[in-house]
Symmetry: D5
Amino acid sequence: MPDPSLLEVFDAPTSSPFLIEHVAEEFTSVCPRTGHPDFGEVLLRYEPAASCVELKSLKLYYQSFRNEGIFYEAVTNQIRDDLVAAMSPRWLQLITAWKGRGGIRSRIVAAHGPVPEAWVRA
Amino acid sequence: MPDPSLLEVFDAPTSSPFLIEHVAEEFTSVCPRTGHPDFGEVLLRYEPAASCVELKSLKLYYQSFRNEGIFYEAVTNQIRDDLVAAMSPRWLQLITAWKGRGGIRSRIVAAHGPVPEAWVRA
Amino acid sequence: MPDPSLLEVFDAPTSSPFLIEHVAEEFTSVCPRTGHPDFGEVLLRYEPAASCVELKSLKLYYQSFRNEGIFYEAVTNQIRDDLVAAMSPRWLQLITAWKGRGGIRSRIVAAHGPVPEAWVRA
Amino acid sequence: MPDPSLLEVFDAPTSSPFLIEHVAEEFTSVCPRTGHPDFGEVLLRYEPAASCVELKSLKLYYQSFRNEGIFYEAVTNQIRDDLVAAMSPRWLQLITAWKGRGGIRSRIVAAHGPVPEAWVRA
Amino acid sequence: MPDPSLLEVFDAPTSSPFLIEHVAEEFTSVCPRTGHPDFGEVLLRYEPAASCVELKSLKLYYQSFRNEGIFYEAVTNQIRDDLVAAMSPRWLQLITAWKGRGGIRSRIVAAHGPVPEAWVRA
Amino acid sequence: MPDPSLLEVFDAPTSSPFLIEHVAEEFTSVCPRTGHPDFGEVLLRYEPAASCVELKSLKLYYQSFRNEGIFYEAVTNQIRDDLVAAMSPRWLQLITAWKGRGGIRSRIVAAHGPVPEAWVRA
Amino acid sequence: MPDPSLLEVFDAPTSSPFLIEHVAEEFTSVCPRTGHPDFGEVLLRYEPAASCVELKSLKLYYQSFRNEGIFYEAVTNQIRDDLVAAMSPRWLQLITAWKGRGGIRSRIVAAHGPVPEAWVRA
Amino acid sequence: MPDPSLLEVFDAPTSSPFLIEHVAEEFTSVCPRTGHPDFGEVLLRYEPAASCVELKSLKLYYQSFRNEGIFYEAVTNQIRDDLVAAMSPRWLQLITAWKGRGGIRSRIVAAHGPVPEAWVRA
Amino acid sequence: MPDPSLLEVFDAPTSSPFLIEHVAEEFTSVCPRTGHPDFGEVLLRYEPAASCVELKSLKLYYQSFRNEGIFYEAVTNQIRDDLVAAMSPRWLQLITAWKGRGGIRSRIVAAHGPVPEAWVRA
Amino acid sequence: MPDPSLLEVFDAPTSSPFLIEHVAEEFTSVCPRTGHPDFGEVLLRYEPAASCVELKSLKLYYQSFRNEGIFYEAVTNQIRDDLVAAMSPRWLQLITAWKGRGGIRSRIVAAHGPVPEAWVRA
């Protein structure tokens, strides 16, 4: 079950602005309607304020969705909320891209704070 | 025959803005001039207000065009209108990309409401 | 409904051996189990004996499967049989490649006569 | 010889703004200096006012350049002018992309009216 | 837990030889050493004797490995064995291709019966 | 009109066996049925005996098909015959690959003499 | 030795604004430090005022750098300057992209006049 | 150990603004947590003021990180700082892109001075 | 320094023949002539007899070359020999593919035992 | 002028058979007919007997063709002959692939000794 307590942070190494992007290519959860697994890719992009998410803890947090029945939109908004709560970043963007189901592939884009114009697009 | 009553919606999981994109790679209708089938891809991109289109109902709605004789421009505008009517989104973009006919491939781009500059381009 | 009478042939322009390959990228039929459309690509490769299949008639023949409920394996074997009956080629290979369903994409390979080793593989 | 009278238009299916793009991948004309054929791709992008160019007539119009001795720049400007005259679009963009000659490949970009910033780039 | 009883077969539509290939792009199991999920692609290629594996049952069978702790080599050999037991094919090839772990990506190739030379290679 | 007299040859620079391949990416002729242009790529592969075809003369010979109404199969066989007559190679392979017409793209493969197994495939 | 006198211009075919782009894929000069050849691609993009550079003369001008010992930055600025002197364009952009040396590949971007925002990026 | 004294600069060949980009595809350092090597690509993009970094010295400087235990974020910020100190550029952008670890690949983007909007995005 | 004692093996899970392939994308050693690092990819392909190499131990073994001055040919032959000594496979193929140096990229192919014809080629 | 004395060899590190491949992506010579430069890629593949060609000397040898007026076929045969004379390999394959001239790109394949069937094809 999704477990935000798995998320660990570390102090940002500098106070000058910079951008961090982590792309997890092997995300999987379960469709609550059909019970079939969903597979996708999760792009996290943010500008840290005081803290950054630790990479291995991020991986374990993503793995905690493995057997959760949850819709695309809910996954995306929950990950966004959990990461914002853990890091309080200057801004954050969370984009999930899902493999095709019935010939339709989907992306969900959620954000927090002022994403710079150049980085809005996935 | 195109049947907008197939479209079902569900409540948006959050009131904070986010973007949804569904790419249907296997759209087909019929050219009303020649009777030959047309094949294309339909990109739907929108920001929900209160409701989102349900994915399986979207697929069935697209399938209802299978044997309809209809031009590229009309397909694109009708899908845009039907989805706007069903969801009343904050903005919506509908882009159809058609496989080549006689060495010419085409795209039609229709929109509703204020598409953010970063997302205007297909 | 699949209609082999649509197939027209013309005399091969030479009696010396040569190979013809037609790849139809926009084949569609219907899954008899679910009623949902299937989309695929049909590769026909053959060495003519006395006659060749005419390209436009091949296209119309393929279109006659559009609303037929038929499994992958049956489509492939039927097209192979209809083309062999129409052309009596020295050898013929028919390969269908289907877009993913539930995360699984498929190919079916049927043949008639002695396909040269170099051309067996799709 | 280039023949703009081949261009036919039809009424735009809606008065709300939308964008149409046709990419002709098989354009050919003749270099007036060397007599050798030139091969290229013609991208037409426009927002219709009251009328749209009919696709088959566009193809025939492009074919009328087949044996014309004409430079890249002149082709591009003439097609732009002929299409503007035929359709009076809100804006129009015409981009030709030519295969390499002597190790140099070229693109020519011509426009009419206010092309939206997001679509300026080829 | 892997469950071969999920596999269903149907009668081959013809007794003449043909080849079937199913590529499942979204296979996942768990590494028994680390507990981390493994992600891979499973290619099944076979020539049916009297029966073929039903596609949806194959998908459910693959899903039954989702939370199983099992090594690459064991997964590959077990799937090969279960499919051979279910279908008794003339020959069968089972290839798993795994996403990188620690900068190393792997493939395991198992076979049953005389795979034709042209199809041996993945 | 196709003009084999344009073909010039030069003496092979060595009597030891070697292979020459020329791929002309910009071949065009006219469909005799519809009058529309056909576009394709011509791959010539051969082992010279005493003489090689000169590259610029080959280009001019290909250009002589520009306004000829001729079917795919006939083009391929004629080029093969004209080149064999001009060069008397040890073996020669001529493969034409045509852009899609009505969603079907085609290749024609003609040969002369013993093409080595490794080079048979396009 | 680089020879700007090789550059020839012709009158722009129209006074309305348009854009011209020439990409030379086979540029080579010599590293003045090591004496080893450098290989790169030269992208020229400009909006003509009264005159355009003739394509074959551009090719010969680029070839005049073949045995010149000159750094990346100097090549780029010199070509920019020579072309501006020859054509007096409304604006001009010159981008060189160099193949890797010691695992590092480079690009140099020089401009003259107001390059439109949409075209600044290579 | 990272050694900024390896960086050598040379005078910019012109005082007019231009952009330089160096992409080092073979960067490696060591993860301080696990001791395993990290592999990545370093993109440096800048507009020189009075001086440019010499390419071979840049390569040696990057190599000095080979056996350093250092996190992604620290590498990126240190290279940015060292290069700014060595060159005092008008602006500079430093982007590191790291190969996947545990199924997650990362990019870090640091900047100095006013990066033009068109070049902000990697 | 290369350390074959790092290699661990485990019992093959079956005695029936199967093939294992591991591609390590991040191999690096040092050129003994120049002292500069070399970067490459190591493909290992083998059929186990009684034992298989354990994946993590293989990774650590490869890492032991990190600071070794050694030529391409010697690396390839040494890895082949060490793996053959550790596993006594039925056959084994070891292919190293090196990134470009001075515009030349290289591959070295070493083998042990009877590699099946279909798998000889990299 | 081509200078085979630049070629240096070193002793093969093992007497057991192995294969070496060097791909030089930046070969250039001059067309003796037109005086224009030719650009191509040279693939060398061989099995050493007692000696191997040293990589830097190979690069310098290739560079010695830079200003030589020489046809594709002659370049290929000369490099083959010079390398055979320098190394006396068990077998050797030399393939040159040339960028397009007038829309035609070419490859020349020369060999010495018994090239294994699996490696004949470029």
